[in-house]
């Protein structure tokens, strides 16, 4: 187990600043998620930790060893799982898992033993003689994890490992991944653009945008206490509503935006008359699209099925947000204002 320390890391591809001065500490044994839209630099950052890209400047430490210079990937004590899984198509599952051990020069008996141990852990022992193309997506993903695990790395680097699975499988795979991480108790750096994955798996989340770290925190912190409008609107489905108040932007989550009648009498509220434009019925929720008087911007209210109030399209209704759920942002910079 080891921590990863990143200091003022930069990577330039020509004119593009893919990673633009990132400082980050990954604690021992934690699962840290790098989250951001595509092109935000999260994968480049991961590849620099792995040693597949050379930083333009800055420092990377794995444990106490500085690795950003000429330390090759194999000497960094890392294992990586790629989005495509990158299994060796000409080798059996056994051959795939054994590959890093063969490269390390382990004796045959040790290799066989370690492969069986890792395969047992993921329940893929009966596929050992098959070729990758004979496996389903979920099975391939497990083989890729096995191949990473068998090297006994200090740090696991996972690059969107669930992105190639279909939606149904993803929930189970997420659960398996988390169990796996608890079991092996290793440091994991996990890259994804899927906020559900990030919130569900991460001990902490790093929200990135255009090569820079916007916020680092637990899922609860980044969701409930965003530092700027980017984080506020990137997280959450639907995203946080932003209402222009001339001197500032007022933000509130759609799930906090309910008809006034649903709040207790002694709760401090901020009322908004809402002209309802459209109602989407989604089974477990209803999304109400409308305009807040005075602000002009479209806002969305997310009403759980429990809220049974009848809402008619085209009508004018009194909605409200609890005062404690309001966030203020600077109208120009988008930075959070504490009031």
């Amino acid at each position: 187990m080891a921590s990863v320390e990143i200091r003022n890391l930069r990577k330039q591809f020509g004119e593009l600043h893919a990673v633009d001065g990132v400082n980050l500490s990954v604690r021992e044994g934690e699962l840290l998620v790098l989250l951001g839209p595509s092109g935000c630099g999260k994968t480049t950052l991961l590849r620099m930790i792995a040693g597949l890209e050379h930083p333009t400047s800055g420092e990377i430490y794995i444990g106490t060893t500085r690795v950003d210079g000429d330390v090759p990937p194999r000497a960094r004590g890392i294992a990586m799982v790629f989005q495509s899984y990158a299994l060796y198509p000409h080798r059996t599952v056994f051959g795939n898992i054994a590959f890093p051990l063969e490269a390390a020069g382990d004796p045959r008996a040790t290799i066989a033993q370690k492969v069986r141990w890792a395969a047992d852990m993921f329940g893929i022992t009966r596929y050992l003689d098959r070729y990758p193309r004979q496996l389903s997506g979920g099975e391939r993903q497990r083989v890729a994890l096995c191949r990473a695990l068998v090297r006994d790395p200090q740090v696991f680097l996972l690059d969107e490992p669930l992105a190639n699975l279909d939606a149904k499988l993803r929930n189970t795979a997420r659960d398996e991944l988390k169990r796996f991480q608890r079991q092996v108790q290793r440091t994991v750096v996990y890259v994804t653009h899927d906020q559900v994955e990030a919130m569900g798996l991460g001990d902490r989340i790093v929200v990135m945008d255009r090569g820079k770290v916007r916020q680092v925190g637990t899922p609860q912190e980044v969701y409930e206490d965003p530092v700027d409008t980017f984080v506020a609107t990137f997280l959450g489905q639907p995203p946080m509503n932003l209402v222009d108040l001339q001197d500032a932007l007022l933000g509130f989550r759609p799930e906090h935006f309910l008809p006034v009648a649903h709040f207790g009498a002694n709760e401090a509220l901020r009322n908004f008359p809402l002209s309802v434009r459209r109602v989407e019925y989604l089974g477990s929720d209803r999304y109400v699209y409308g305009n807040v008087a005075g602000a002009g911007a479209t806002v969305i209210a997310k009403l759980p099925a429990m809220v049974a109030t009848e809402i008619t399209e085209g009508s004018e209704m009194e909605f409200a947000v609890p005062e404690r759920a309001l966030c203020y942002f600077d109208a120009v910079t988008g930075a959070r204002q504490r009031r």
């Binding site: 792995a50 040693g51 597949l52 090759p72 990937p73 194999r74 890392i78 294992a79 990586m80 790629f82 989005q83 495509s84 990158a86 299994l87 060796y88 198509p89 000409h90 059996t92 590959f99 890093p100 063969e102 490269a103 390390a104 070729y131 193309r133 191949r147 090297r151």
Partner: protein, 300 residues
Amino acid sequence: MKRTLADRENVLGAALLAPALAYVLLLVGVPFVLAIALSFSTATAGSLSFNWVGWHNYSVILADPIFRRSLANTAIVTVGSQVLVIVLATAAAQVFRAAFRGKRAARFVLLLPWAVPVSLAAIAWTWIFDSTFSVINWTLKVAGLLHGWLYWLGEPGLALTAIIIVQAWRIFPFATVIVLAGLASIPQEVVEAAIVDGAGFWRRLFRVELPLLLPVVAVAVLFGVVYTATDLGVVYILTGGGPANTTQVLPTLAFQRGVLGADLGQGAAIAVFLVPFLVVVAILLLRVARRTEVGGGERR
């Protein structure tokens, strides 16, 4: 509305295929069948007589030491040059995969041997191997590596070596291009996975890249084998089969006996003799190409 030719797919397809089909039938099929028929006859150039003699021509050439020598030479030249080609093409492909200044120019130069007509190139090579002016000999001599003198085209062993070198030189650009295309088709993430898994350059090359390249290399080798085994020009111009028939290959011998010697029957027998072998080689190589394809059938 009237149906035009373009609407009638059956007719259109046949019409579009016809020229290519006619070309293959008239210029490949007919001569091929004719050669097989001639090989069972005593036909001679300048006469229209056709006497069926069964396997007579074949038993004659099989008893002929020059034919046997030619057969062996064909095998030696083909195998020797193709081994050389695989090694050179794999190495060159690795070089060309890296980014370096002047890569485009280098790639153009690489392809030149492929573009130059065989006869012209072979004539240039006769100067390189010339008994007096050989640039190889003079270079080695000046470098102090050669004492004495190498008569490249005058000694059987050296002459065969020279032929192998020229054949390899001729095929290798083509093979390099094929291997390069094969390398490009290997997913980048698989190569990176091998790097992260701790495989160095040689392990990546022999355990990951070459096994994945096998189907493409098989195709390159198939082309190389067919081009080399059936080539007349290089041997004809470099050595003319000499000295004393020691570098004859089947195409040159067939030309000598059938055209220059006017014994069409025997010439045809010599020329046709290689066909079954080439068919078997082609089937084997194509099977390798298909079986080891990424995502293809079983292995082991």
